[in-house]
Symmetry: C3
Subunit: 152 residues, 3 copies
């Protein structure tokens, strides 16, 4: 016995000229002007995405994530709000979740994993990286864990 849910696009707040590729799973989030969302993307409730930001195919943007203007979220990028801090998933206990805030003009490469962090403006994250710590300085970061590899 099972229940099947097909959300698609539900209670999303849109700016102007937003383009959404289907299939998607977007709910109770806020997308700014000229945002692009590729296919096979999930964006959860409470997420805010700034103007002209693109979220490419196969990416997952979870609750408690805020993304600025003019950002590029590559393909297969996974955001995380639960760090299993007590040895396992927090489940429904949102008090144990942590937020992520991405600045403006941030470009995140494909297959990147983003633990709950703050990322400053004008940052590039190389493809395949795992971001485990806050990034407070503009520049290019890469690796697992991601470290600064050069200035922009």
């Amino acid at each position: 016995m099972y229940q099947e849910k097909n959300i698609g696009i539900r209670e999303v707040t849109f700016g102007s000229n937003v383009i959404i590729m289907q299939p998607c799973n977007l709910y109770e989030c806020e997308l700014g002007d000229d945002v692009f969302v590729g296919p096979f993307v999930e964006i959860q409730q409470g997420v805010v995405i700034g103007d002209r930001t693109k979220v490419q195919s196969h990416s997952f943007v979870c609750e408690l994530v805020t993304i600025g203007d003019d950002c590029f979220i590559g393909h297969g990028v996974m955001f995380i709000n639960d760090t299993f801090s007590e040895g396992g998933p927090a489940g429904g206990d949102r008090m144990k979740w942590k937020a992520t805030r991405i600045g403006n003009h941030v470009s995140i490469g494909s297959n990147v994993t983003i633990l709950p962090v703050q990322i400053a403006d004008r940052v590039v994250i190389g493809a395949g990286s795992v971001v485990t710590k806050d990034i407070s300085e503009a520049g290019v970061y890469a690796g697992n864990p991601a470290k600064k590899i050069r200035d922009l």
Copy 2:
């Protein structure tokens, strides 16, 4: 000339209170009570998933994988049954595939890749890791290849 197949949910055995998000591609597998399956998930034939286990969005669970109770499979997790042991894919030759068995209370972070292995109970795998060897002891593991980083 091509043939298009749309499986969706086909010949799946469900426990009680299972929730499945669409779109999905699930066939000839067995899901226990209170299992949750996120959107954009494929679960192949013969897979058995225990009670209260959650399989999050964008994950792929292949043939020959068994997952215990109370597990959390993060977003974008890829299981593997073919290690290209003879320099390339085994193709349809299942004799060359290898099985994966995940214990109970195992939490696997997002974008993790799981080669064919056995994982004991009460294990946490950090996001972005690549698990290449059996894990026989409870604890927290991370990296590529994944190594124990601390006790639970």
Copy 3:
């Protein structure tokens, strides 16, 4: 205000006996004989995929990628044509994009990320790797960045 696009399969050139799993997002590309495309796959315009090659679930094959015959593209593999070479995405400026050419009999493991490179015939890329440089010699490569780990 938003525009929703549902491409599915549009203006694709097919060889014989191609199998496509839905849902997919394939447009203006060319697939050879006996090609298999798994679910949740995007293949963009101009891509050419050779005979008997399989593209598994959750993979993304971008513009300017050419894949030979008898290849295996694992699950969650992401190709890239924009290296953010000037500190951010090239946007619509295709002059800044770079091409990828994959030879014949190349097997790419799951969750691999492929920067714009040339890969020779008879190469295996281990799961979870990040390929950042050309591979001109047959063999098995793995890691981030991917390095040769043994002969085939």
